[in-house]
Each structure stands twice: as C-alpha cells, then as structure tokens.
C-alpha cells in the first residue's frame, strides 16, 4: 500500500522492530555451531528470496533460474579476491554489478515472454549458467570447486564464520528488507502491482511495463549477487553444486511458502524452510531412513500443498485472517 491506514502503518513498524530484536538476540539463545551456520544461511537465502518475491509477487514474473545470479555473484568475487588478489569489498562491487549486467542482457530478451515460455526461458538460462560454471575451468576451477577464498576484513578485523559473520549477513538482510519495503510502498511498487493485476490497464495508464519488469529483474539479480558474495566469503571454497536447479527451486519454495506478494512473506518463507530443514536434519540423526534426500521430498510436498490449499502463501493468508478479526483497524465497505 502506498499510504497505509494509520493502524497498519504502526503495525508494520512494530513488526519490523520485533524482527530486528529477534535477529539480534537469536545467537544468544544457545545456538551450537550447526544452528549458527543455518541461521546465517537463512539470512543469505532471505536476500535472494526477497528479490525473487518482488519479481514474482509484484511484477508477476517467474524465475526458475535465480541461482544463476547467486552463482555469478559468488564466483565473481571468488575470482576477484583470490585470482586477482583484490579486496573482497571490490569483489562486492563486481558481485552486484555483473549479475545486473547479465540480467540486463537476458532481461531484454525475456521481456516479451510470460507464463510457460518465461518459465522455460529462465530455466534454460539457469542451466546454461550452471554448465558454464562447470566447464569454464580456467576461471572457476570447474566441478572440483574453487578454493582459497579470502575472508572479509572490516576496519582491519577479519569477519570470521560464526557469530560475527551471522551479524554481518543479517545486517545486509535487514537493509534488503528495508529497501524492498520502501520500493513496495511507493509509486514503483504500485506500478509493479498494477502490472501484476492487469498488464494491459497498467500500460494504458502510462506504466512502462517493459521498463519496470526489467528494473525489478535487475534488482532481484543484484540481490542474488549480493547473497553470492556473502556466501563465497563465508566458506573457504565454493562449488557448482550450490548454484544449480536445486538451489533455484529451493528459493522458489521459500517464496511460494511465505507468499510472493509480500516482502515479509519471502522472509518468513525462508525462515520456515530453514527451520524445516533443521528439523529434518535432526530427525535424520535419530531415525535411520530419513536422509538428506528427505529435504527434497519436503520441498516438493510443501510446494504441492501450498499451491493446492494456500496459493497466495502463508503471510497473505494470515493477513486475511487478521483483517477479519480486527475490523477497527480496517475500514470495510458496507455495500
């Protein structure tokens, strides 16, 4: 909403503060190193999910190849910081710009597609990039993985894995959420939503749908690139397996579960999926037949069940329930 009802605006701020508090306090609730890593990953994935959510929920597009930008970001900074020996912060600039450039080139071609054709195009794109990552061995070291990625330094101290990196990642995540919320509650957000609801009417009202679809596509690519940067410098090494179709589908699941039409939805979806995966992991430790493949089964099941019973996702559905129970915050029509 561009201008929110007073009550809802206050809620949004409260929600944001609560979110911030949870992020700050979480590590002190006794997380072991596995959980800390998972929580850090959640932050990284959330950045991608928010971008993908904007693309899907607002511009009404779909991307089954988002992991490609994630991969480009990660490998770009790996090459810049290890192969060329430059500072990871320079790597950040390239990790964000290169996916943006790729999105710009690819986006032009995809601008005319929609529905199944767009899905296919993004799928094709994602696969092409994964193949290139594996085959371009001189640059990426191929399937065996790229080793020796330096740690990030901030004012002379290294940001190591664990608690410091957790806060480092979530700093970026919070900024991402803020920026995205700003865009959503703005003229641009309205334009995007109008494209989603009726592209023909949006066009007739002067909304340059092609331009906005492109802009949001580039934005989502930049976010994925940022996430790639964060991932690369967290791990000492990266390998192509993290950036393929499975990853793209994971991000899709997070967005679908939480609800594409809402920034909070994407965030919640990410946290939920991470929690579910943690749960499965623990089950796996105790019950023999549950392996990591079970994650795939869970993902698939979630996608199927959500589309069947809650197609708009968790967050919008919860908001609807909330709307019905708090009429004093909402003015309903008495037609």
């Amino acid at each position: 909403m561009a201008v929110q009802r007073k009550g809802v605006k206050k809620l949004n701020w409260i929600g944001f503060i609560i979110f911030l508090l949870i992020v700050l306090i979480l590590p002190w609730l006794g997380l072991n190193s596995f959980l800390m890593t998972q929580a850090t990953f959640a932050g990284i994935y959330a950045i991608i999910a928010v971008g993908l959510g904007m693309l899907m929920g607002y511009a009404g597009q779909i991307s089954l190849g988002q992991a490609a930008f994630y991969g480009v970001g990660a490998y770009t900074t790996a090459v810049v910081s290890k192969t060329f020996g430059l500072s990871p912060w320079i790597g950040l600039i390239f990790a964000i710009l290169l996916p943006a450039l790729v999105a710009f080139i690819v986006g032009h071609t995809m601008a005319r597609l929609s529905g199944y054709y767009l899905a296919m195009a993004t799928l094709a794109f994602g696969i092409i990039v994964s193949v290139l990552i594996v085959e371009w061995r001189s640059v990426t070291s191929g399937a065996s993985g790229f080793y020796g990625i330096p740690t990030i330094q901030l004012f002379g101290t290294m940001i190591k894995q664990g608690l410091p990196y957790y806060y480092f990642v979530w700093f970026f995540t919070v900024i991402t959420v803020l920026i995205s919320l700003n865009i959503v509650h703005s003229r641009i957000g309205r334009a995007l939503r109008s494209i989603h609801d009726s592209e023909i009417a949006a066009n007739s009202m002067g909304v340059n749908t092609g331009k906005y679809k492109m802009q949001i596509f580039i934005f989502s690519a930049m976010l994925a690139g940022l996430a790639g940067w964060l991932f690369a410098h967290m791990s000492y090494s990266i390998s192509p397996g993290s950036f393929g179709l499975d990853a793209s589908i994971l991000f899709l699941t997070m967005v679908v579960l939480g609800g594409a039409t809402s920034v909070w939805g994407a965030l919640i979806g990410t946290i939920l999926i991470t929690a579910i995966n943690i749960f499965v992991h623990f089950l796996g430790n105790n019950v023999s037949f549950i392996t990591s493949d079970f994650e795939h089964v869970m993902n698939g099941l979630i996608l199927v069940l959500v589309i069947m019973f809650m197609p708009k996702g968790l967050f919008p559905s919860l908001v609807n329930v909330f709307r019905k129970k708090t009429p004093h915050l909402v003015k309903e029509s008495t037609t």
């Binding site: 594996v134 698939g300 589309i307």
Partner: protein, 292 residues
C-alpha cells in the same frame, strides 16, 4: 562422415525419447491447459520400475506390462488427487505445482532406490550394427521403432477412434465438447494416464542406453518441454519434430563443439527459439493459459 552419421543416429535416438516426452506434455496440455513438468519423472519411473521388476526375477514382458500399468496408475492418481482440484489456478501456480510434484517423486525415488544408477539389458542381444563407419547400438534401433510405433498408435487413436475424436474435441473446444456429453474430467483422466503410459514406455526403452537413476527425470522433462514448445504447445506433430530437432542439436553440438557444453548449447538454442518465435515453429494451436 562416420562421425556425422554417429552423431545423427545418437541425435535421433535421444530425440525419439524427447519426442515421446514432448507428446506426453502435449497430450495433457491440449486437454487441460496444464504443463506437467513432472512428465520427465514418468520416464524415470518407467525405467526404474522396469529394472526393479526384472531384478526381482519377473520375466521381461510381464515386467514391462507391470511397469506400464503402475506408471499409468500414478498418472491417474495425479489427475485425481491433485490436478482436478486446481484447474482454475493461474499458469504460474500450476507450473510451481508440477515442479513440486516432480521434486516429490524424485525425492521419493532417491529414498527408495538410492542415488546409484542402474542397468537394464538391451531388448535383444545383438552386436552393434556398422553403417558407414558408424557404430549403431541395436537398442537405438529399438528406441526409434518404439517412437514410430507410438506416433502411429497415437495417430490412429486420435483420428480413427471415437475416443480419439472425443479427446480432440475436448482439446479444441471444451465447452462444445461438454455440451455434446463428453466429460472433460474423463478426458483429463485419459490424458494423464496416456501421458503416464507414454512416459513409462520411453523410460523402459531408454533404460538400456541411459543407465537410469533417480534424477533422470529432470533433464528429460525440461528437454521434453523444450521440444513441446519448439513445435508449438498443443501441436502433436510439432512435438515430434521438436523432439527430434532438440535431440539432433544436442548430439551434434555435443559431438562437434564440446560434450561438456552440450546442455548449454541445447538450451541456448531453445532460448534463441523463444526469442524469435515464442509461439513455436508451428505456432500454438490454442491460445490458452500458456502463452498469455
């Protein structure tokens, strides 16, 4: 010359499989306007079940029939339990749904069969043929014959039988068909079962050549989908041509340029196609939820 023939034969073989998968896509799409991205999983199941049954000592022909029946039933279950309830969803939700089903099936397969790949004996034990310096695996001939048989079978069914006409009627004009008493639900069920059967057939046929494993389905599904798009969604002849073309592109690209890059080459080709003619070479037959 020998190389070229080799690549062409490989291309036609793999293209035949893509084409059968593409036909599966087209079958379901033409009646329900749904793109079933889990189509590839039918193929995987076909291959894996066949291998399992044969491994249990069941005679070849019976195992084959059992496999076909099981996968056809799975197709029926999908239509009944899932797709019937989401008929009016928007295309993007449907795409996501079928992706979910594909992952689910793949995940269950990885739990059930593990991650290894398996072998099935060729249908007939025969030394490979030698044509113009190219070595042709006898199973490839089988695959191409099966493809031909499928095409002929579908043609006869669609053009000459009442059931086929009812099917085509529902796909061309669902409202009119319903007014004529043709149940669109029954047609949808038929479409899914047919697709299941076709997929299983392809899976069994390709098993001796491709060493099936739990993740065989994804790439096949995606490439089969590309083939269906190539020919124009909803067009069966298009699916046939599309499948063979994609197979040839992959084989020739992989052979002459680089085998590691073959998927990238194939999908670049598909992307190019989508740019130039998003509605496929033969054009999309019905303006359904797909392209709009």
């Amino acid at each position: 010359m020998g190389d070229l023939i080799q690549f062409i034969m490989t291309g036609l073989t793999i293209g035949s499989i893509y084409e059968i998968v593409a036909l599966g896509f087209v079958t379901i799409y033409s009646v329900t306007k749904i793109i079933n991205l889990a189509q590839g999983e039918f193929v995987m199941l076909g291959g894996m079940l066949m291998i399992t049954f044969v491994g249990m000592g069941i005679p070849f022909v019976i195992a084959f029939i059992l496999t076909l029946i099981m996968v056809t039933i799975i197709g029926w279950v999908l239509e009944f339990a899932v797709f019937r309830r989401v008929k009016d969803a928007d295309p993007i939700s449907l795409i996501i749904l079928t992706i979910g089903i594909a992952i689910l099936i793949r995940g269950l397969a990885s739990i059930g069969w593990g991650k290894g790949s398996f072998r099935l004996e060729s249908f007939t034990a025969h030394a490979p043929l030698k044509i113009f310096n190219a070595t042709i695996n006898i199973q490839s001939i089988w695959v191409m014959c099966i493809m031909l048989a499928v095409v002929i079978f579908l043609y006869i069914m669609m053009e000459k039988t009442i059931l086929g006409k009812a099917f085509r009627g529902t796909s061309d004009n669902p409202v009119a068909a319903r007014l004529m008493g043709i149940s669109s639900v029954k047609m949808a069920t038929l479409a899914f079962m047919l697709s299941g059967g076709l997929g299983a057939l392809a899976g069994v046929a390709i098993a001796p050549i491709m060493f099936p494993s739990y993740d065989l389905g994804i790439m096949l599904g995606i490439k089969g989908f590309s083939a269906a798009i190539f020919g124009g969604l909803g067009s069966a002849p298009g699916a046939v041509i599309g499948g063979l073309v994609i197979g040839l592109v992959e084989s020739l690209g992989g052979g002459y340029i680089s085998s590691g890059l073959k998927d990238a080459i194939t999908f670049s080709f598909v992307l190019l196609l989508l740019l130039i003619r998003p509605s496929g070479i033969l054009g999309e037959k019905s303006v359904g939820k797909g392209g709009l």
